[in-house]
């Protein structure tokens, strides 16, 4: 029982990481039709700069942890905004080229990060409490899982309120449904493009800092490895659907944890198998409206 609980909560924590990456991917794809391969780089840069700031502050304090998360968010949002303005926007409506430029950016930035910070993992130090465990019904749960879950829930709620309650949110939701019609109404959707990139980048940057605490280190490849699963989550959840991404994040991560433990480390395989099944049975994903 305690093992099941541990796997479940660890799965939720990992799912939270997936969601922080997948939420932005899903919004960007839904609105712009662009699969953003550079999203992992936003995450990695957020993680590195979060660590760079943290190591100049007192080790293990909550303030340091909070500031590094904030730095991650700001860095992620900034670099995503610049990417949209400088690389994506000039290729307006040329989706293949837009995707290719994000692929190129992801490859180039990984090389750049390796040049700056080296290829070896850099270990990060968080508040002592994060490394402790909490006993829940006999299961000793590492505390960082709770922080991850809380962060993802806050980001999810923030996004829902933003999408439901603000005029930008309405434009983005309408644009996800039918971009051409929003343009026909006289809305300059390109502003909304920049905005979803900034929001997605901020979530990825937060995810980067939290991922570095979850894994215990930062490396130039941290973003890319999470990005693969975030793509799978985005497709399973339904491209463009935030709720779908949230549900799929949890399903994928929990499945991965249980398969790794009970089925001899086949977690990654099971996730890909699930992806195949979803694509065969419901190609639009759980909550997606378009393939």
């Amino acid at each position: 029982m305690s093992t099941v609980l541990l796997l479940l909560i660890t799965g939720l924590g990992l799912g939270a990481l997936y969601f922080l990456v997948a939420s932005g991917l899903s919004l960007i794809y839904g609105l712009m039709g662009v699969l953003n391969f550079a999203h992992g780089s936003f995450l990695t840069l957020g993680a590195f700069l979060g660590w760079e700031v943290a190591r100049r502050m007192p080790d293990g304090s909550w303030l340091t942890f909070g500031v590094s998360i904030l730095v991650g968010a700001v860095v992620g949002a900034t670099v995503a905004t610049l990417t949209e303005l400088l690389l994506i926007r000039p290729l307006y409506l040329r989706h293949i080229e837009q995707v290719l430029v994000t692929v190129g950016l992801s490859l180039a930035t990984v090389a750049l990060f390796e040049g700056i910070w080296g290829v070896d993992p850099i270990y990060v130090v968080g508040p002592e409490w994060l490394n402790d465990t909490t006993d829940i019904a006999g299961a000793l749960i590492p505390n960082d899982r709770f922080v991850l879950i809380a962060a993802a829930v806050i980001v999810l709620l923030g996004l829902v309120v933003f999408l439901k309650r603000t005029r930008y949110g309405l434009i983005i939701r309408a644009g996800v449904e039918n971009r051409a019609m929003v343009t026909a109404l006289g809305v300059d959707v390109r502003r909304a493009f920049t905005l979803v990139f900034a929001i997605g980048g901020a979530a990825a940057g937060i995810g980067g800092v939290l991922a570095s605490h979850y894994f215990g280190y930062v490396s130039p490849l941290i973003g890319g490895s999470l990005l693969i699963f975030a793509f799978i989550v985005t497709v399973i959840g339904g491209l463009g659907s935030l709720t779908g991404a949230a549900i799929a994040s949890v399903v994928v991560a929990v499945l991965q944890q249980f398969a790794n433990f009970y089925l001899g480390g086949t977690g990654d395989f099971m996730v890909v198998a699930l992806l195949a099944v979803v694509l065969l049975v419901k190609p639009t994903g759980l909550l997606g409206s378009k393939a």
């Binding site: 603000t166 005029r167 930008y168 309405l170 434009i171 309408a174 449904e177 109404l185 006289g186 502003r191």
Partner: protein, 251 residues
């Protein structure tokens, strides 16, 4: 010169290859007039609307709104000078609620710079405008309903509400009754009549002759891209050339 037309079309021509889709059409619509555009299929009615609303550029000729030449303006710019239209195919966001659809249109009309700081207040203005327009077309009780699950008639009403939210002086309705269940037609006719009575100029392409004749002040008859007649309904229907156009060819 006292009664300047709110909308005028001057010697409008659309030529595609060797075919004249719109052939030298001139038409003036008075302020507050309700004009029905009729004619056999392929007569160029919708094309004329496309030229007026800016979907298509004319080969030659001009479109004037209150005397100003809008021929070179985009659809959006024409919408800003008060020229609004609906399309034959539904142009709703099926996944958004009725209120959100109208709010989106109202936001555009209220417009201005998109500023995050001023977002809440603007959203309020757009929301109250949305309530007002939904009420005007009799959809207030469906405000929370997702647009995709409304009946065809209510969808048309919602499109009109969205159009009204942009506060157009001239409204172009392209076959508003198309696909609407016959039981919903009277309600929709009422809405269109109310929109007209509130002082707006309305142009309407419509196949249902009984609907057109009961609603409009005047009728324009299109045939083979030409304007055959533009007059009061009873005069137009008595016209021999119009009868030939309708009776001589299958609809």
């Amino acid at each position: 010169m006292t009664d300047r037309p709110v909308l005028a079309v001057e010697q409008l021509v659309l030529q595609i290859g060797g075919a004249r889709i719109i052939d030298d059409v001139s038409l003036a619509v008075a302020d507050g007039e309700m004009l029905g555009v009729i004619g056999p299929n392929g007569a160029g009615k919708t094309t004329l609307f496309n030229l007026i609303s800016g979907v298509l550029p004319p080969t030659s000729g001009r479109v004037l709104v209150r005397g100003d030449d809008v021929s070179s303006l985009s659809i959006q710019r024409r919408a800003r000078v008060g020229l609004g239209r609906t399309f034959q195919t539904s142009s709703l966001f099926a996944g958004l609620s009725a209120r959100e659809n109208v709010r989106l249109a109202a936001q555009v009309a209220i417009g201005g710079e998109l500023s995050l700081l001023r977002a809440p207040r603007r959203a309020d203005a757009a929301t109250s405008a949305a309530e007002e327009k939904l009420d005007e077309v009799g959809l207030a009780h469906h405000a929370e309903t997702v647009a995709g699950s409304l009946s065809h008639g209510d969808k048309r009403k919602l499109e009109i509400a969205m159009l009204l939210a942009t506060d157009p002086g001239v409204i172009l309705l392209d076959e508003p009754m198309a696909g609407v269940a016959s039981g919903d037609v009277p309600g929709l006719v009422d809405v269109i009549r109310r929109v007209h009575k509130s002082g707006r100029t309305v142009l309407m392409v419509e196949h249902h002759m009984d609907v057109v004749l009961g609603l409009v002040d005047s009728v324009a008859v299109m045939h083979h891209g030409r304007l055959l007649a533009h007059d009061k309904p009873e005069v137009v229907m008595a016209d021999a050339t119009v009868q030939a156009a309708y009776l001589g060819e299958s609809l």
